[in-house]
Symmetry: C2
Subunit: 438 residues, 2 copies
Amino acid sequence: MRKSIGVGLLGLGTVGTGVANIIQTPEGRNPLVGGIKLVRVAVRDLKRPRGASISPDLLTNDPNKVVDDPSVDVVVEVMGGIEPALSLILRAIAKGKSVVTANKAVIARHGEEIAAAAKTSGVYVLIEAAVGGGIPIIEPLKQSLGSNRIQKVSGIINGTTNYILSRIAKEGAAYKDVLKEAQELGYAESDPEADVEGLDAADKIAILSGLAFGGPINRESIPTQGITSLNNRDVDYANKLGYGVKLLAVAERLDKENSIDPYLPLAVWVQPTLVPKEHPLAGVNGVNNAILVEGDPIGEVMFFGPGAGSGPTASAVVADILNIAGIRTIGSKNNCLDPLLEASSWRKCKLVEPQKIIQKHYLRLKTEDSPGVIGQIGSVFGEYGVSIQSIVQFDATEAGAEIVVITHEVEQGKIITSLKSIKTLEEVKGLSSHMVCL
Amino acid sequence: MRKSIGVGLLGLGTVGTGVANIIQTPEGRNPLVGGIKLVRVAVRDLKRPRGASISPDLLTNDPNKVVDDPSVDVVVEVMGGIEPALSLILRAIAKGKSVVTANKAVIARHGEEIAAAAKTSGVYVLIEAAVGGGIPIIEPLKQSLGSNRIQKVSGIINGTTNYILSRIAKEGAAYKDVLKEAQELGYAESDPEADVEGLDAADKIAILSGLAFGGPINRESIPTQGITSLNNRDVDYANKLGYGVKLLAVAERLDKENSIDPYLPLAVWVQPTLVPKEHPLAGVNGVNNAILVEGDPIGEVMFFGPGAGSGPTASAVVADILNIAGIRTIGSKNNCLDPLLEASSWRKCKLVEPQKIIQKHYLRLKTEDSPGVIGQIGSVFGEYGVSIQSIVQFDATEAGAEIVVITHEVEQGKIITSLKSIKTLEEVKGLSSHMVCL
């Protein structure tokens, strides 16, 4: 008979309740689930009614009591936010306890500190639930794809914005109305900033790229643009040109050849992006998430599924507990950790300056409806070395016309310089919108 | 410094060459790849030129020499076929060596025997490359989704047939012509039987369902139908009704509630299947594979990518070697195996009789073009408890008409009985085709 593993839960909200529900109904799941015992649960309000039936003896409103409880082997942090989550995670590690967390904000910002502490203490910090809800993506990056040189990770990793964009694309509804409905349905928070401004996606791509490329990423340097200023007109034009609009988070290495630079240069960004309709990410709708990984020699693999929610996220949390339970079965000769599961970093990465990022650009310009204007715009781009994929005039009226330019791949810096020059053209009244394309 | 891990390769064909290429170029991959050493390679013909540069000293045409070599820690079997692969795998296990194999035929037919031997010897037998090429699917079923009760696994898991079906759907080309081209392009074997008759897909769904449901599956009992008798007319009608045609392999548990039956009843089948165009599997084209897993509480997750080929399959093989290398780092107190990685079975499964399988059916009937015939057919189905989703008449000419029926979900037995009765109707000239629907 295997020894049971004691779990202490920090937080009993949506995810915590899901975790408790799985642990309390082990029948029909992997038999190791039966060996997980919920021994202590920290909640903010002891009196609030709960979606899981937890014996009141287990509840405490002092999270330190969970971390310090000697019968707790693994601390599961599902309270969210930076503090006190960070301090509690570090405290658990210092006490020699492995940690499972769904907290992308903490990991994206303090992952290095946490990993160093975990290494010192010889414990695991597992984070499958931090990105992509239930979708297995952390484990594949750490283990199943480990033999690859990863070139690019692109993902739809925020369910709220994908829900909003899917509704806008389908119904032509206004952003504000859809956001309000999403809030009513529980798909968006009452304070939606982290989602709609792309901050949550930036946290997650920081985590994914750290694992994919083997070195920590400076979260604060990721250029991030959300969907709050997205115009329905662009969704419409994109559609006419064969694209859907998605909020993508992308991380790409810029040295495709082996280089001797000790720092791996990466372009990492979060931005509303035109995705060709035949692209695998284009069909990912609603609150679903999907992550596309490109590597050598695997080519392209995609992971798709529910990116949030109680059940899916709890599935990932419990999978991490199972991993710890599984590896505990082996015992350890010398307190060594499995280097794959531990996922220590093994390379230094640096983010390139935004102007060095190579992308295809989508630009919507307001112009006069004059016959020469397309030629003039084309010439300026040509002058600055920007090659154009398509340039199309929409909606010509007396008030003027709209010209949509899609470029080939080019450094952002060249686009910025070209635009400066284009804005000085007499026929050009302004840049109405600027996105990127896959 | 970690000890290096000695790998012996059985076979240096497409996959073996890919494995050697990864191991020999560790730069930029997970650092554990650098610890893998190729120490011995068995080939059939010592003189054949190779796609990987292997020192001739390593080559032997006696595979036993690879298995028996004391410097070989892990035996990688990528020769394919049942024998001598099976004997070599068992011999390696008996010598206390872990095995990594891409051999779906051996695992689907002899998995139980191999697993039992591995347990006795305290070694791992890892098979990520056996299903879905490079797509991580074995590991997710064993670990990342372990907290779920899996309800259904459905997959496009044969690249050759998916390539052929994609071409037929896109161009209306004839099966025979596309098969010939696929053979010329190397997407189909010169003897295509295992692929086009669905046998390869049946091997793979046997493996996937064994892992998803926790108990071994009797490979020989899986009802299997390939694509050789597929008629372009059905692809055309399916398209008009909003479906694509895919060769699906499906495994589904039939007791959605908890039951006390010690055997978990499963419906497992391989069959050309109408997939609604908005379904995630419908967009999987060419040689790609995709596997959709439905579980509680995760909901639906899908894994998509290249289902075959040297690089992708080798990526999966080396990932398995990494797993073994990673876990060796820990050491083991008492020769215990990680139960998740070991993936021992923990439940008994049984395949239900084909007539108990519940599916939606697609039936194309040749009939007279008479006004009452749809009503008559509908009545017979009603009599036997078969509920109809749609019944549509196509191509009415003097020679008669074609009627396509799509049913709701119903036991196969009821369809068979209804069809017997329908065939006796005077206006019905015969059943032209019979497929299933998602």
